[in-house]
Every structure is written in structure tokens, then in C-alpha cells.
Amino acid sequence: EDGAQEKITFCLDWTPNTNHTGLYVAQAKGYYEEAGLDVEIVQPPENGAALMCAAGQAQFAIEAQDTMAASLALDEPLGITAVAGIIQHNTSGILSRKGDGIDKPAGLTGKTYSTWDSPIELAVLENVVNGDGGDFSQVTLIPNDITDEPAALAANQTDAIWVFQGWGGINADVEGVDCDYFAFSDINPVFDYYTPVIIANNDYLAENPDQAKAFMEATAKGYEFAAENPDEAAQILIDGDNTGSLKDAEELVKKSQEFLSTKYIDDAESWGVIDADRWNAFYKWLYENQLCDKDLTGVGFSNEYLPQ
């Protein structure tokens, strides 16, 4: 408590949102301080959280299992490991205007979809659209520079967007835009992979295993609190976000928090545990579909830093 605290930099994947609530709770409630840690939460350069973590500029960061594949498949893989799944199941899917017929994948045929132009994203879509009897080659792709999905749909900027139900889906309710939604994990269980995960720098883990465990324990406490007290946790997130971007989005944050509070732990035995079968199944699918040069089965995650 007298400056002897260990400094830890945590790099987010995006601006603060309800995926990050546990971190802000642990920060605000003093869980980190109790563990002797001085944690600074920072934001990444464009798409660069994993790199910043691998470069040692941050000890921990947030990544997603799908985008992480590329970094693990390099000839010289990035030195990072997923040490916790923030949300147990993949809650992402396709959001569209109500009544356009995109309540199931086949409905995308002949429609416009805003894409980040990532190979995995497109392969997942192709799989579900064609699997549902649609024709993915007849989907018009336009670049995705959208940050407010319901608004973009309402303005007819696009017909369909990939969203996370706990944010974009909720936002549609908040903004009063009537939308259809389907989730990937409901359609093909292989797509029930881990979306946001906490990753750590490998060298750091090897050199400071105890500190890493202490950090994860405090973080887990934060997410457990958020699961039990969504309203208070949402307020902590809004107050803790020194970027000010959530100040005007109180309703969205609170509703999103309420939704996510049941998803953090869900059917797992405790927060953060990564189910090896689901993890491996997705990476196997990537390898089999030539979306990844290496078979990453069993690679890239560890449950040993979570509280036992």
C-alpha cells in the first residue's frame, strides 16, 4: 500500500463496454489493490491489443479466439496465451431490420452485408448461409465502418451486420429499432467458440506466475460481483470509464449489463474457465477449412491461472 505495489498494464480490445465491467469493478472495489497490484487500463492502437501484449507493452489484454488464430499460426507465433474466457458462449449473430426476412441465414441471399472483410468472418457466414439453403455468393458485401448498428439499419445504410447480442442487440431495443436476430452458435455448435478472452504475455506468465494468479483472482472477483449486482456494476463501469464515452449511454449500459450478468459464468463451474473441447473444435474447423495454416488443437489457452 506504500508504493510497493506491482504495476500491471491491461490493454482493452475497444472502448470500454460491458465486456470489461469486471475489470472496472475490481479496480473500483479495490480488489487489485488488496492483491498488491497497481493496474492501469489502456486502449489499444488499431486492432493491436494482442501485439501490444506480445510486445510486453501490456501484461494482459483482451482478444477474441477467432482473431487470435492468425497470431498463433505464425512461423514465429506471438507469445500470448488466453487465460480466461470473459463470456462463456458466443453471443454474436446477425442483426437486420425486422421483416426483411433475415431472421435465418438463408435470408441473407440477395441482401447487403457490412463486412470487416476478414476471412474467418466470411467463412462463418458462408457456412451458415449455404448450410441453411441460401446462396452466399449472392450476398452483396460492403465495407463495415459502422459503430451504431441499429441506426445504420434504420438509415438503410446496410441490410445486415454482425453484432454482439449483449451490445448491438440491446442497443436496437434502446433505440427502438425493430430488428431480427439470429445467433451463430444456435445454428452450428462449432461456432460456439470464445469471443472475448483475457490473454497474457507468455514471458510474463513464466516469470511471475503468482502475480498473474493474483491478478486473475481479483479479476474473477470483479466479474462475479458484476454477475450478481448488474445494476451497481453498470454504474461502476460508467463512473470508472475515464474516457467519458459511456456517460450518455446509461440505459444501454444498464440493459446490456443485465443481459450479460447471466452470460459471464452461465453453465460453467466458475467464471473464466475455458472449455477445451469447444476451443479445439473451432480451431479444428479453421484448419480443416484452410482458414489457418496450422492445426492449433490444444494451443493458445490455459486454465491454470484462474482461482482454483
Partner: protein
Amino acid sequence: MKRKLPNITSKIPPIAAMAVILLGWEVVSISGIVPSYMLPSPVAVLTALFGDLPTILFHAKFTLLESFYGLLIGIALAFVFATMMDRFRVMDQAFYPIMIITQTIPTIAIAPILVLWMGFGMAPKITLVVITTFFPITIGLLDGYKSVDPDAIRLMKAMGASRAQIFRHVKFPGALPQFFSGLKISASYAVVGAVVSEWLGGFNGLGVYMTRVKKAYSFDKMFAVIIFIVIISLLLLLAVNIVSRITMPWLQVEKEKNHE
């Protein structure tokens, strides 16, 4: 008294032009031809500017510090390079092409790499400002050194002046006007350089703030920040102008003479 008159009249056309532009903008946005998330009205932008001023000022502090340090280091570096290049022909031949190459590298591509190398602090941002600012100053100084009348140098030699004395009394002051021309260009790019590097990775600063308001679809706030950036760039330019006037009083005298 009399001399101030043309100054005032010369300010009418730019103010009128600005007014016309703002009015046109307001009409277009109010009329509803363009939806407000595409083009917020000037009134909305101004409201956002004043409403958000505390936040903007908080972030501006970082951006300004980065611009300022970057510019200072850029000046120092330009001074060292230009002086060496002027002194040694080999240096000139060796570095000139490399300097041009540094200017054709897209900053947007190296900014994230700099963050990766230097971390989340101010270092990568300052570095980017240095990269964008040192070139025009170096070119200005080099041209300035070259513009010195070789006869003046011959005269100094005839008076028994050492190389250092020639530099101090003739070359350096002779290069000042072009140095300041270069500095004006650099100053107008400094703030933008800092904003770009913040935009691509950072925690504080106007660039970061802009990415946030953009993500929140607050285009009025976005435009407010752009206007704020324009204003501080212009203030920086003004500051350079004032410093150049104080540093080179003889140019003022010459100008007055020409106006008589």
C-alpha cells in the same frame, strides 16, 4: 493610426467568405437535405464545442504537449542535420535522399508500429510529430544557409573570422527567414501529426477523444474537435509569427519601409 486602416479593410473579405460558408452550411443542415449524422449544423457544432469544452481541454493538454515537444525536438534535429549537411557535402548527398524517403512513408502505417515499439506513453506520439515536422525545417535551414551571399563569407574570411564566427554572424542569422518559413509549415502540421498518432493508439489526447465520439456517432462533437484543432493550429502559427517578428526585427523595419 492611419496605417491601421488597410489592415481592417483587408480583413473584411476573409471574414465575409467564412460567413458565407458557415451560412451555407447552416442552411443545408437545417433544411434537412443532409441528415444530421452526416453533417451536423454549425450551431450544433458550436453547442457541442462549448458543452464539451472541459473534456476537450483535458485532452488538448496532452495533444499540445506532444506537439510542443515534437516540434522542439524536430527543430533541434533539423538544426543539427541542416548544419552538418551544409558543412559537409558528403552528409548532404548521403542524407538528402533518405530525408525525402521518410516523407513518403505513410504516417498512418508507422504510427501503430511506433506504439508497439515505444508503448502507450507520449514517446510514440512525439516521435511521429518529430518525423512530420523536422523535414520542412531542415529544408528551410538548408535553403537559408545556401542563400547566404558567398561574398559576405569571403568578406568575413578577409576580416580573419573563424568558421564558427562566420556561422554565428553571417550564416545563422542569414538563414533565419527561411528557417521560420519552414517552421510555419511544420507548426501547421504538428498538431495534426499528434492527433493522427493518438487516433491510432493512445489513452488521452484529442485523437483518442475523436475516435470515441466517432464511435458514439456524435458527429457534432467530432466536428467540434476538428474546429478546436484548427483553432489551436492557427494559434500555433500565430505564435510562430510573433516569435519570428521578435527574432528578426530588421525584417519589420524593411517591411515598414516598403509600405511607406
